[in-house]
Every structure is written in C-alpha cells, then in structure tokens.
C-alpha cells in the first residue's frame, strides 16, 4: 500500500519533446509495495513521464529521485538494475529467439564481456514461467503476435529483477484472460516489496488492481488518490471530457461506464 517509503519521486518535473512542452510541473511519488496507475487521454504525457523516469529524456525543469538518490547519480547500468521498463511495443529488426530476448534483461547484471551464467539462465526461465511463455522460448520473436510480444517484453523486465517496474500499457494487446493474469502478476510482484507504475486505459482493471490512480491531463497532474477518490464523474469529465457513471461491483470494486453524448 502507499504507506511504504518513497522509491520514485517526481518533483515539479517538466519535459519537452523538441520545442513542445509535454509535462508541466508534475509532482508524484511511487511508494514501495505499491501499484500506481497512470491514466489520461492520449498525448497527456504518460509515456514521456516514463522516458524521464528511465533517463532516456532529461526533464527541462524539476528533478527525479530514485531510492532517495537523484536519478543523475546512477550510472546507466546501475539504473537498469533498479528500474525496468516494459514498453508499449517493440519493433525487433532481427530474428532473435524469445529466450534470447528475455535473457537480454540480465545484461545490466553481467560483466561488460562474456556470456550469461547458468544462474542468469535460471532467472530468465523463471521470468518466462511467471508470464506463461516457456513454450515460446525457442520461437523467433518475429513470428509472435502483438500480445505474445508484449508478454516477452514483460518477461524481459522481470529477468532484469528491478525494484521498480514501469509498465506502459502492458495489457493493450492482450485478451481478457491475459489482462487478468498480468494484473495479478503485477500485484504479486509488489507484494515482495517492488513497486509498479502502470500506464493503463483500462480504468476498471486499474480500480481493481491498483492501489492509487493518477490522472494526467495535458501534461499536468489533475488528481491522484485511491480509485474511490479519483474515479469520480467530475474528475473523469475534467480529464477525458466524457460523461461517466461509476458503478460499484458486488465486491466493492468500481466500474467506470462511459455515456455516449446525448442524441446518439
């Protein structure tokens, strides 16, 4: 829950792509053992926040700290041992096998030269087993479906053995069964002290599997809090510009039901 120590903190972060400012003064903290869902319209800056957190993009203002240290104090390899990113999708140009791609997640833990050790292989196999893709290990990644590729990227991030996971729409290409199992896996991962920041458009699943939800709108943080605090018609209208009805399921979880504009 959000009571754990802060592991990743954005402090008034602004960031730009070229001359266009995408993030404006975002202050947000991720706690140990927490799943924080990041939601908002397309182009609100969710992926950019991930790029800032993984130091692929430097903020134009503000600062980011990870495990209490400024992000800039980490070397690239050190950072990759602590923080892993599951991208939306990856275009892979060469026919690497699934097992090889998952094993690449071990690379920040390896020496600069040489080959993976048997222990690294065990880690990679475990990661594939947790995601349920052992059977794909020897298939070329070029032959996979979008959903299978997404599971490979998730397994690679698990093989990285990070404290903090950033997942960018990890379930976008997945069927319902896999959506649920990925959400369950993320919950399981944070149980042993990891933290996850998850971009998702699936607010229902976010309400059920996330501890807190942050709504991002036009590069600014609009609201952050528990699902019950954030998933209100007023907040969703302000963020997504749609009318919604919030229902409560038998187990108390919230459901967001969008309404069509009147006249449709």
């Amino acid at each position: 829950m959000s009571g754990g120590p802060v592991v990743l903190a954005f402090q008034s972060v602004s960031a730009a792509a070229g001359s266009r400012e995408i993030l404006r003064g975002v202050t947000l903290s991720l706690h140990a053992g927490e799943v924080l869902t990041l939601a908002g319209p397309n182009g609100a800056g969710k992926t950019t926040l991930f790029r800032v957190a993984s130091r692929v993009l430097r903020p134009s203002a503000g600062s980011v700290s990870l495990l209490g240290r400024p992000l800039d104090a980490f070397s690239r390899r050190e950072l990759a041992r602590v923080l892993a990113v599951v991208p939306q999708d990856a275009s892979i140009a060469f026919p690497f096998r699934v097992g090889e791609v998952v094993l690449m997640g071990r690379s920040p833990h390896l020496g600069p030269l040489g080959f993976e050790t048997p222990a690294d292989l065990v880690r990679a196999r475990e990661a594939m087993a947790r995601v349920g893709i052992e059977a794909l290990a020897d298939r070329s990644v070029l032959e996979l479906s979008g959903g299978e590729r997404q599971l490979v990227l998730l397994a690679r991030a698990l093989a990285q053995d990070p404290r903090v996971l950033l997942l960018d729409e990890p379930t976008a290409h997945l069927d319902l069964r896999h959506r649920v199992s990925v959400a369950a896996l993320v919950r399981e991962l944070v149980r042993d002290g990891r933290s996850a920041l998850v971009v998702s458009h699936d607010l229902g699943l976010a309400a059920r599997s996330g501890d807190r939800i942050a709504l991002l709108r036009r590069g600014e943080l609009h609201a952050v809090g528990t699902p019950r605090e954030v998933l209100t018609p007023a907040h969703l209208r302000a963020t997504f510009e749609v009318e919604t009805e919030i229902l409560t399921a038998a187990d108390g979880a919230l459901h967001v039901v969008p309404k069509l504009p009147s006249g449709c």
């Binding site: 993984s54 690239r76 140009a93 026919p95 096998r97 600069p112 290990a137």
Partner: protein, 338 residues
C-alpha cells in the same frame, strides 16, 4: 531454451577458421598456372625453398590472398555493424554510400595528393576520413530515427555523388588514362602493395578490437535505442565507437580494393540464417566468412578467364544484386510497414 554459449561460439568459429584455411589453399593453388595442393602446402611449410611453384605461391599469390581475406573481413564486419546500428538488415557500406565516400577520399589523395606532397600511404587514412564523413552525413541527413526507405535513398544519392566526384577528380588529374579509375569504381584486388596491406590489417584489427567488446551491447541496440538505454547501454558512446570502427574498416578495404559491393550484405545475412543474430558470434564469424568469401570470389576472378582478370567487384555485385532484391522483398512488409 537454446542460448549462445562460449563453447558453441568456439565451435562455430573453429569451423569457419577451417573454411578460411581451405579457401587459402584453393586461392594459392588456383590461377593461370594451376598448382597442386601438395605444391602449395610444401611452399608454405618450407618458405626458403627455391623454385617456380614456391615463387608463385609465396611472392605472387600469398600477398593477394592475405589482402582479399583482410578486405572481405573488413567489409563483412562493417556490414554487420551498420545493420545493427541502423536496425536495418539492408544496410551495407556499399548500398549506404559509405564505400563511395571512402573511394572519393582515396581518389582525392591519388589525384590531388602529389601536388601537396601526400604520398600513396595517405590513401588509406583519406579513405577512412571519407567513410567517416559519409557516415556522419548519413546520420545528419536522415537523422537517428530515419526510416529504412530514406536511408537507402540517401545511399543512392551518395553513391551517385561519389561516382561523379571520383570521375571528376580522376579526369581533373588525368588519372583516367589507364584502367585505374575503372578499377576503383568496380572494385579489384589486382593492385597489391605491401605498405597498403599493413594499413588494411591495422584498420581491420583496430575496428575488431572496438567492435568485439561491444557485441553484446549491439544485441540490445537492435531492440531500439531507448530500450538499449533502459537495459543499461551507454548508447551514444557505443554508436560513436562503432561508427568509427565501421568507417575504419570500410576505409581500409576501399583504399586498396575500390568499390567491392555487397560483401557486407551477403555474408551477414547468410550467417544470421546459419548461426543466428547474436553479435557476440556474428561479428567474429563475419570476419572469417567475409574473408573466405572474398578470397574465393577473387580466386574465381583471377581464374575464370584464363590469363585475363575480372575485377572481383563485378563478381560480388553480380552475386549481391539478386541477394539484395531478395532481402528487400523478404523484409519489405516488416521494415517498410509504418
């Protein structure tokens, strides 16, 4: 789960080394006056022996065999590096115009060098400079997120420009009276000079020394720059080092052999089919297989027409053109899709 182990890599490299040794024997035995394997081996084992056979093997053919191994290795490894850095299986120093830039640098020294006191030894460094300049220009023109189409089109334009520049410089300096310029444009190994072989070897081994320790990072970079960074790779440094390494190798190869085309395309692709895309094995394998391939092509070029000689570049381009088109068709959907 199948993964690359050091043992497997050593096995593959041993097989390729044997293939290199076999092609060296073929290259030393074949030619206008054909020698037996026994004659070749005895000349190699006892270099102090006198006689026509030993003379042909050691003084005529061996320097050229060594040179073709070095040039083939340089071009194939450069191809692997460009393909990985640009994440484009169609990238090749010849197709991208980098070889053209190197040739332009080399010919500039040959044609204008004497006037400013530059000797022949400056050809290789000038070709390296030409290759590096073209590589940088390629990055500048098409940007780091260039689509495969724009990269290949840029290469087409560079090649046209380089060819025109080469002909212009050569005409200006009156170099085109012999077949010299023609050989630069089509690629040939007939011009063996010991001083140049030294440069080629130096550039090749320097390039390999840069590339081999970064081979694992190259695997990660084929997943995309951001992903590689997120997996701990210092992408900018790796790119810089490897672009210099690739340019060194192209400069070395072109300075001595001219525009030998498609070796950097055929060999890496063939190897990926046989041994997979892992660069820890692909880079050294490309050096061995590229050397053997060019040596065999050059041996054919020397032997096919009896006493007369074909430029080896004509053979590699005849073989490479169809391979390129096949690759283009094979990858079209994947890499040209939006």
């Amino acid at each position: 789960m199948k993964v690359l182990t050091a043992r497997h890599a050593a096995g593959v490299l041993a097989v390729l080394a044997l293939a290199v040794a076999a092609s060296v024997i073929v290259g030393l035995a074949a030619g206008p006056s054909s020698l037996s394997v026994r004659e070749v081996v005895s000349a190699l084992l006892a270099p102090e022996t006198q006689g026509a056979a030993a003379d042909i093997v050691l003084r005529v053919r061996l320097p050229r065999v060594v040179l073709s191994l070095l040039v083939g290795a340089s071009l194939a490894v450069a191809g692997v590096l460009f393909q990985a850095l640009l994440r484009n299986p169609l990238a090749d120093p010849f197709v991208l115009g980098v070889s053209g830039g190197a040739a332009l640098g080399g010919i500039a020294v040959l044609s204008l060098g004497p006037a400013v006191g530059l000797s022949h030894a400056a050809v290789a460094p000038a070709a390296f400079a030409g290759a590096l300049a073209t590589t940088l220009l390629l990055g500048l023109v098409s940007g780091s997120r260039a689509s495969p189409t724009s990269l290949l089109l840029t290469g087409v334009v560079f090649n046209a420009f380089a060819s025109a520049g080469i002909v212009f410089l050569a005409s200006f300096a009156g170099l085109n009276e012999g077949a010299g310029v023609f050989l630069w444009l089509i690629g040939s190994l007939s011009n063996v000079r010991a001083d140049v072989t030294g440069w080629v070897a130096l550039f090749l081994f320097a390039g390999l020394a840069c590339a081999l320790p970064l081979a694992r990072n190259l695997n990660l970079m084929t997943l995309g720059e951001e992903t590689a960074q997120q997996l701990g790779v210092d992408v900018v440094r790796v790119q810089r080092v490897l672009l210099v390494a690739a340019s060194l190798m192209v400069g070395a190869a072109v300075s001595v052999a001219g525009l030998v085309g498609f070796v950097g395309l055929i060999i890496p692709h063939l190897l990926r089919l046989l041994i997979g895309p892992d660069h820890r094995l692909l880079v050294p394998s490309a050096a061995l297989a590229g050397g053997a391939f060019l040596l065999l092509c050059d041996t054919a070029a020397r032997s096919l027409l009896g006493g007369r000689e074909l430029p080896v570049g004509a053979l590699t381009s005849l073989a490479g053109g169809p391979v390129f088109l096949w690759l283009l068709r094979r990858h079209q959907q994947r890499i040209f899709a939006p």
